[in-house]
Symmetry: C2
Subunit: 582 residues, 2 copies
């Protein structure tokens, strides 16, 4: 698969972009006309620079509003197209993207559009250039890929082909099936972009929220597969613009972009990335040692369960929940995960251009093999029980387990807004976690965007939070939720041990009554234990939160009943208000 | 007019909000249920607190999804409504907002909705409560005000009235005419909000982009006038939520909100704000003195035209363009404006709760009466020629004018994103400037949102720019554009004087050729002078920019021909790239 990217996908001036694209290992690129127009480099200088960098110019784009033009206004279009062809000759580019007419005066007549594209095709062919015609999702009359193909078919000109763009196609509700029956040699170019599912005007959506494949929710792989199935053998080229890439370092974006293409190839079963882990479970939470930690763990019902054979690290345990306290080099809380194969994760990380998994345990530096996410979350990787790299194998003097916690239910991780796409990509591409819907909550001063991820075949759950707040935004692990079989007992024990619990306002229980019509004795019991409550179908969630503990994170204790699978979103605004006030 | 505001319009917790609302002088407020639910104050404590603060609770809101409910699911609705009525009894609130059903299972049957509202009306009436029923713009079946009125009419219940919300009404394309024939005593509440014109899903638009009247583009005054014309005599209450107010200081927001209601009353011809200035023209640019300034002004063809009789201030002049150089206390560039009456502006500022106009010239502290905008732009106010407060009256030793500049064409002012709404309000409400459309441009690293304002009956033009960029955002005056009768000559003089002009890439002229098909000799001439060009109808713009001058702003020289009225937006991306590179 030939890997390409459009210069519009990167920030900076043209010269910066070319350098970043080459450094990330792309084969070719699309020159965005505005990048050229604003550049002091002449087209010939750009061509020379690309050749030096080993990049081919696969596309010149876009030339707009060239068909469906009222006939008496077509001469200026011919002049414009000829002028751009001359630029392309200097660039050495042989494919030009023409996108469907967006103007209010566009004529709704596929035969007229076809005839005009055919005339432009004659000019292009004289110079060995091919037109790739794209249905913009917001084109005035032509805005579905099937309509663009109809125009190309009517034009019936060897130099007039179809451009496929995953964003434009999917955002209008089409999918790969829309390409059925189109011969591969009639598709002149393939552009790929993903996006989160947002209910907004498609032009605004496109301008501000596109992202690289694997970061959003569109079925990009399906459309690419359908395009390749036609026999299309040209570049697969990323065209992504968003508020995030506008301000990001172009070298970082280019690397992220390349990673998304490798992931896409992997999804298509085409390429060298080792398969994702078959399922990931949480193993333990690692905490940096501090005088506050042992008493806190004791209050939470944890007891020492072993000590590391070489390092100043203690394993604490409550039932199936594990915490290791690192009095050595750890600076921030980290998460330990169980996977089928540490080396598999390491190889996949390498293939996807993520940072190398640090496997320097032998040197005495690291507790376990580890990798750091784009936002700085440190993930320690352990094999499942029985393998050489199982984390418990490093601990001696094991004690009998006590306590009845069921394990780590989920972690909440705060991510800076500009790092969110990368963090999503990390969880999806490396760990094969599946994203849920984006939710948004009001904070007393600010707002919180939140998205839950689950290991597709394991029990690891991570919630990414982006805070837009006046307070200096938190980062890293901000909440750790332990699952308990009896939250009332767990909360009672915490309270008895003097851990400060988040108070719940009485008005909350009045509202619970309004919403669920709970029996008075149930409401009284929830109130007496300071529990939040949610219900979905037959499932119920009962949960409670600590106030800040001086550890940088809150602890949540939660009891899931009857298959409740969410996180209690309906009460989140109350929690945020009370935790901020606390 | 009774002035109200919803607690959801402010950030903070409920107690903060009540304090801020009272401090800004509101008569009453709407209690947003979620604010109450998350508050440790009981409803009776909230009622007591409001009474202490002199605020009445005019509305409890919202109760959602109470009509169009499948009949077998109506019992839980009755329970929910009864529970909220009990809360309202403790609050002492007698109007409740019920908004139209948004759920996928809502039944499309106005008679069912009317019957269900009527049942709720019975419960409400028992307690002396009135329901105000609102058509949410995204209601499943009822989303236009006319539909909501139809349901209220069918319910035919004294305790079931219509709620009017300017945002919901206008965002669906209705206007005040939709209220024709509705008796005023059948309207139970009036909520007001403005918004910029954005082409996006109305729910997203509502959640993130509402603003106070006078900051957006909706005809809020028209709907309020129509509502008052029905005989409605209840509160006019602001319900505004947006990304900006979520993070702003609630005290600042409350003041801004109150100001918007005063402006609204003013637009309705109801209240005490003195009329806006009849038209504002630019008088001069004030620059803080520095060794670089006199040579720069000389290079721009300015010559000393007078000195201040008491202060270390020099008046420079080129034709009808004036600059005063202040070697005294001025810290940043400021704009001087000519108005019909300085005292009128001062009185209007006072009535609209803007900062007091500083008229301490007599004390020797200020050059002229002045006022500082929310973003920090200092505006010096002068009477027109012949009045006591004309700025030139302070200058002695006037010299004969030289040069041929036509004046200050416009200023560009950089505004932090979170201050934009306030700055727009300042220009609109105090100076009666009219906003143009919002435009957005790519920067090499970031993006720029831009909006031009013009004095409705004068020649002052100000462009507000919001930069979202990795560079530390600029603030204050970033560009000063002088109008010239012959930009080629002006640019030639600048170049001869050694002022560094922004280079224009050759590719730009190729693109100009493509777009406009200009004769080669015209293109060559533009290229030779380094001019940017735009055309609209018969009008043409020729302009050039300096590189950064060490003054914090660029200078633009521009020649408008044939009534060209814009700012050359098509070339802005080129300018941004070249100025950043330079």
């Amino acid at each position: 698969m030939r890997r390409g990217i459009a210069t519009v996908s990167l920030s900076g001036v043209l010269d910066d972009k070319l350098t970043a694209i080459a450094a990330a290992g792309f084969d070719g690129l699309e020159i965005f006309d505005n990048d050229l127009i604003a550049s002091p480099l002449t087209p010939r200088e750009v061509a020379r620079r690309c050749a030096e960098l080993g990049l081919t110019i696969d596309l010149f784009q876009p030339v707009r509003d060239v068909e469906g033009v009222p006939p008496e206004q077509f001469d200026p279009v011919l002049h414009r197209f000829r002028t751009k062809l001359a630029v392309m000759a200097d660039l050495g580019a042989t494919t030009v993207l023409c996108c469907s007419h967006v103007g209010a005066d566009a004529v709704d007549d596929p035969d007229l559009s076809a005839a005009q594209l055919s005339l432009l095709g004659d000019l292009a062919a004289d110079q060995g250039v091919t037109i790739a015609y794209e249905a913009l999702a917001w084109g005035r009359h032509v805005n579905r890929v099937g309509q663009a193909w109809d125009v190309v078919r009517r034009a019936d000109h060897p130099a007039v082909t179809l451009a496929v763009d995953t964003f434009h196609l999917l955002s209008r509700g089409d999918d790969g099936a829309a390409l059925a029956g189109i011969p591969g040699d009639r598709i002149g170019f393939l552009q790929v972009a993903d996006a989160p599912l947002l209910d907004m005007d498609v032009l605004e959506w496109s301008r501000h929220f596109r992202c690289f494949p694997g970061e959003g929710t569109l079925d990009v792989a399906g459309v690419v597969a359908a395009t390749l199935a036609t026999g299309y053998a040209g570049p697969v080229s990323l065209e992504v613009f968003s508020d995030v890439v506008r301000v990001a370092d172009p070298a970082v974006t280019a690397r992220d972009a390349m990673r998304s293409l490798v992931f896409l190839e992997d999804q298509l079963g085409r390429a060298g990335a080792p398969p994702p882990p078959a399922g990931i479970d949480p193993a333990f939470l690692e905490l940096p040692g501090s005088p506050a930690v042992p008493p806190l763990l004791g209050s939470l019902g944890f007891a020492p369960a072993g000590r590391h054979r070489t390092k100043p690290v203690t394993w604490w345990r409550n039932g199936d929940a594990h915490v290791v306290v690192n009095d050595g080099t750890a600076a921030d809380p980290a998460i330990g995960i169980l996977t089928s194969s540490v080396s598999g994760v390491a190889e996949r990380a390498k293939a996807l251009l993520w940072p190398a998994v640090d496997r320097t345990r032998g040197s005495g530096e690291a507790l376990l093999p580890g990798i750091t996410s784009p936002s700085g979350l440190h993930v320690l990787v352990s094999d499942r029980a029985g393998e050489d790299d199982h984390w418990q194998g490093d601990f001696v003097e094991p004690a009998e387990p006590t306590g009845d916690l069921l394990g780590i239910d989920h972690l909440v991780v705060a991510v800076p807004s500009l790092r969110l796409n990368e963090e999503v990509s990390f969880l999806r591409t490396l760990l094969a976690m599946e994203p849920g819907a984006v939710e948004e909550f009001m904070e007393p001063q600010g707002r919180l965007r939140s998205r839950a991820f689950r290991s597709s075949r394991g029990s690891l759950r991570v919630i990414l939070n982006v805070e837009e707040s006046v307070q200096s935004p938190a980062s890293g692990i901000t909440q750790v939720a332990f699952a308990t079989p009896d939250v009332r007992a767990s909360v009672g024990a915490l309270r008895a041990a003097g851990v400060p619990l988040m108070p719940v306002p009485d008005n909350y229980y009045t509202d619970l009554d309004a919403r669920f019509g709970l029996p008075p004795e149930v409401l009284d019991d929830l109130r007496a234990h300071g529990l939040l409550y949610d219900r979905a179908g037959d499932g119920e969630l009962l949960h409670a939160f600590t106030l800040p503990l001086g550890t940088g994170f809150h602890v949540e204790l939660l009891e899931r009943r009857g298959g409740y699978d969410g996180y209690g979103s309906a009460g989140t605004h109350v929690r945020l208000a009370m935790q901020r006030a606390g």
